[in-house]
């Protein structure tokens, strides 16, 4: 309780400025999509070009002297250098992309650099069940179906399940983690804009799987505090 009242008065501790998982995802996805589209178009176009350029026109060509014959022991065609050059280029593209994203993986895994943000993070226990979500706040109160969090604060979710394998994720806030019976996993996010967001189950969990949604209510800090204080006495 005390912790959260303190935050309100110390602006530096809030997480309004941190890179959210959503921002991280959008940046990497955009780069991958751009490069992927480019590489895809180039390689596919080159493939189709070759298939067209070397079509059988019925004319004799120089290479015809060395066509494969029935019953020969297989050998490779030439062109090894070119093969390794293209392989090398593709390997460099892939490896550099992955190395580049690795630092962001570390960021997502460990959370924002600011110690204060981390220490002030709001920890909420999430429990999945057939077919809904229950949220337990630090003051012990629980809600079902709606997760309320304060704006611009790091929220740490400890996610588990009480029956089968579920997965708790939000397409807009870009947090997602498996909800596994018998163990818990962690994920975090920051809601920088107040509003109502969706959370869904991303692992088939039975007949109600498709309906197993929750809402995430990102509330202005004062509103949240009011709700939170009020809820405790309930």
């Amino acid at each position: 309780m005390l912790r959260h009242t303190v935050i309100q008065n110390v602006p530096i501790a809030h997480a309004g400025g941190v890179r959210t998982p959503a921002a991280v995802f959008n940046e990497i996805f955009t780069v991958f999509l751009g490069l992927g589209t480019l590489v895809g178009i180039v390689v596919c176009a080159y493939t189709v070009y070759n298939a067209y350029a070397y079509r059988d026109t019925g004319e004799e060509s120089k290479a015809d002297a060395d066509r494969p014959e029935l019953g020969e022991l297989p050998t490779g065609g030439g062109g090894g250098k070119k093969l390794f050059l293209s392989f090398g280029i593709s390997a460099i593209i892939v490896l550099s992309l992955i190395v580049w994203t690795y630092s962001t993986l570390l960021y997502i895994e460990t959370g924002p650099d600011s110690q204060q943000v981390q220490e002030n993070a709001l920890e909420i226990n999430v429990e999945g069940y057939q077919f809904g979500w229950q949220f337990e706040y630090p003051n012990g109160q629980t809600t079902s179906g709606t997760l309320r969090v304060p704006q611009n604060e790091m929220v740490m979710l400890n996610v588990t399940s009480r029956d089968v394998f579920h997965n708790f994720g939000s397409p807009e806030l870009r947090f997602k983690t498996d909800a596994i019976p018998g163990q818990s996993t962690k994920t975090w996010f920051v809601g920088q804009q107040a509003g109502t967001y969706e959370a869904k189950c991303y692992e088939l969990c039975g007949t109600g799987h498709s309906y197993m949604n929750a809402t995430v209510e990102v509330m202005p800090r004062d509103d949240y505090q009011q709700w939170y204080n009020g809820s405790e006495s309930e």
Binding site: I28, Y54, E69, P74, G76, G77, I98, L105, Y202, G208
Partner: protein, 854 residues
Amino acid sequence: MSDLPPKSSIRRWFLTTNHKDIGILYLVTALFFLVFGGLLAMLFRVELLTPAADFLGESGYNQAVSTHGLLMVFWFISPFAFGFANYIVPLQIGADDLAFPRLNALSYWLYLFSGILFGISFFQGVTFPGGWTMYAPLNTPAYMPGEALGATSVVLAMIMFVAAVTLGSVNFLTTMYRMRAEGLRMRDIPMFSLSINLTVWMMLFAFAALLAALIILSSDHIIGTNYFTYQIDGDTFATNVNNPGSSMLWAHLFWFFGHPEVYIVFFPALGVMAECFQTFTGRRLVGRKWFIISMVLVALQSFIVWMHHMFLTGINLEIKTLFMATTIGISLPFDLMVFSLIYTMIKGRVRYMTPFLFSLGALLLFILGGITGVFLGAVVLDYQFRGTYWVVAHFHYVMVAGATALFGGLYYWYPKMTGKMYNEFLGKVHFAVYFIGFNLLYFPMFIAWETPRRVFNYPVELTVWHNLSTVGAIILGGSFLIMFYNLFVSYFRGAEVGDQPWEFATSAEWAVASPPPLENFDGVPSYASGTLEFLSPSDVAKRQSGHSGAAADGGTAETSPATDGAGAEAGALATTETALATGAGTAEPTGHEHASHASFWPFMISLGGFLLFLGLSGIRTGSMLYTSLALVGGILGFGSLVGMAQEPFFAPETAIAERWPFADVEKMKLGMWTFLASDIVLFGAFIGSYAFIRFAYGWEAWHHDLIPEAHVTFPGLVNTYLLLTSSFAVVLAMVAAEKESRAGVMASLGATFALGVGFLINKGIEWQHLFHIHTEAFPEGWAITTNLASSTFYLTTGLHAAHVIIGLIIAGYMFFRSWNGAYLGDEKPIEYFGLYWHLVDIVWLFLFPLFYIL
């Protein structure tokens, strides 16, 4: 042995053991399951026209998506590839047939009956609704509507399918290492055969892990063990039986199989693409050596990437990093293969025949599948793609690209198989419609990727994309009507083709008639001169005198592994041995007897196995119907096994063949070794599961909470001595056989048998005692279902005991044969049995400390 009736006779197709007939049976059956799985996909694509469950209903939708996945992955795509493998591989490597023709027929019938059992599951109330990945604990009856008999049938059908796959793997490996034409080194075998070789290696190990998972799951369903149990009992958890590692155990077992499975599915397609690219461009594969090395690397590495399917399960950063690295690593060899195919076209004479169009199309689709897969390799992106249509679209672009190449293979080899040419125009139309349908079906899924997998109520704004997908599905599905029409009509009206309808094709299947004669080649194929020749008997005789010993191992009669019942896999081994025991005694030198091509027993064994499994699926209800089905099936299966073991069946080995690296390992022994390798993985997975569960529960608390005082070391110790001594007795039997001492063989085999029986009696007494203890902690005894520890103890040592029982059946059989003077001077059958028996012994040396001491 019966005679093989002509192809026009329906009896032929039940009797045949010929690889080409079986290849056709596989292809036709796989296409049936394509239609089955495809219609299920149509059903849920129609459901997805609107974002609500207004067509199939909630449960119906889940069943449709789950069974669509299972049917396509297991019953369609791999068996389709193995239809070609059956038909083409022996032709390409210069063999008359597979090493164990009856085993091959048995593989097919087990496959067919497993599919029928799967079909029946739809009529047992509800079939399996938990997704093709079958995540625990949703895969247990506690979480299924009704009695869940349909789900049990699906699990049992998969066990039967795995039995077929394991027999097939052993068979193909033995064939490819023992029956290649002279001068054909492993690296020289055509690309399609090479891809099949690597595929079966992966199958041998990956499917053993799946088998462990499935045996455990079926035991949870039928016997009531608690490996995957996690359920609320009323308001509280039944803590003794809840496995806190349930979900993760399944995920590890499943994906350890599941990732190699991706390459198991895709490799044969790569092989077809390589063949078609070479033939239709008239160019040799660029960088062939590197292409092969890449495939070998992928096959090896496929076993260390599985945790990338589990990035969000809370595994630690170090392991995530490691698996991210192996995942990216495994994608690189594919880059090389793709470029190799592209460059093969350069300077070619590319002819756009239907097989090439499908191969080229497959390459383009695979490039897109590959690029979108790199996205998933970036873990941060993977987190968000997890459980969405991105994954669905990606793996369909990869797997169905594989299927695309295989359809190309169907057109490519159709003239070889039928002797008729398909209609080229209709083939091209099929390709055009197929390619448009494919992209219209799967590409919108990338755009609508935010849709969670396996839901019917997707976001409304994505409706247009889902509708496009549905239209694409109808076009893609409809394109097959063109194919079926074309292939059917061409069979009767197509133009006759010669040996080699495709210019620039090089491999040996094009050097024989279309369709090839029953025993494939007129002479003995040989590449010794650098090109394919067919040697006359006199040439062969000349060569043989040159290669002393090359033919020494020719002509052992075929052995007949088979399976039935719950110990499906172990059963296969058992009969290998049994038949071996008979077979080796009647071995004939090559050429002195005609090869056999017909046996009714594979069909009968599979029918028995099918009835048994169908019975087992419902036996927990106590219904008379199911119980009698199981009984009848068990008796029929076992009787047919004995029948097959008794049947004289002659499968000659080629007089001269390239056998590196197993020139000194006889056919039977090689088969046995490869089989035992998969058995080791099976036991490894069982032991691993035990350690995993115990660790998840708490290693020390396990012993304290879950195991009664009465579970003491002594019975296990006695059994260790019994087994060790019995292994020693097998060695003595071998020595006695070598010395041609009938009394010695009988005494040693008798001792082995008696010691094995002693082992079982001792175990029986121990189990009886534990079942009926009455203590404060275990008022109702320590039975199989009592808790986690009892589940793992009884099931793991029970699997071992099943192996002992099978060994005893063989030992008993051999004892009676030795009575009649068998094995004297020919100790090989005893040696093969010994290999199996020693393995069973060694496994116990691991089980004893794990389940009695630690």
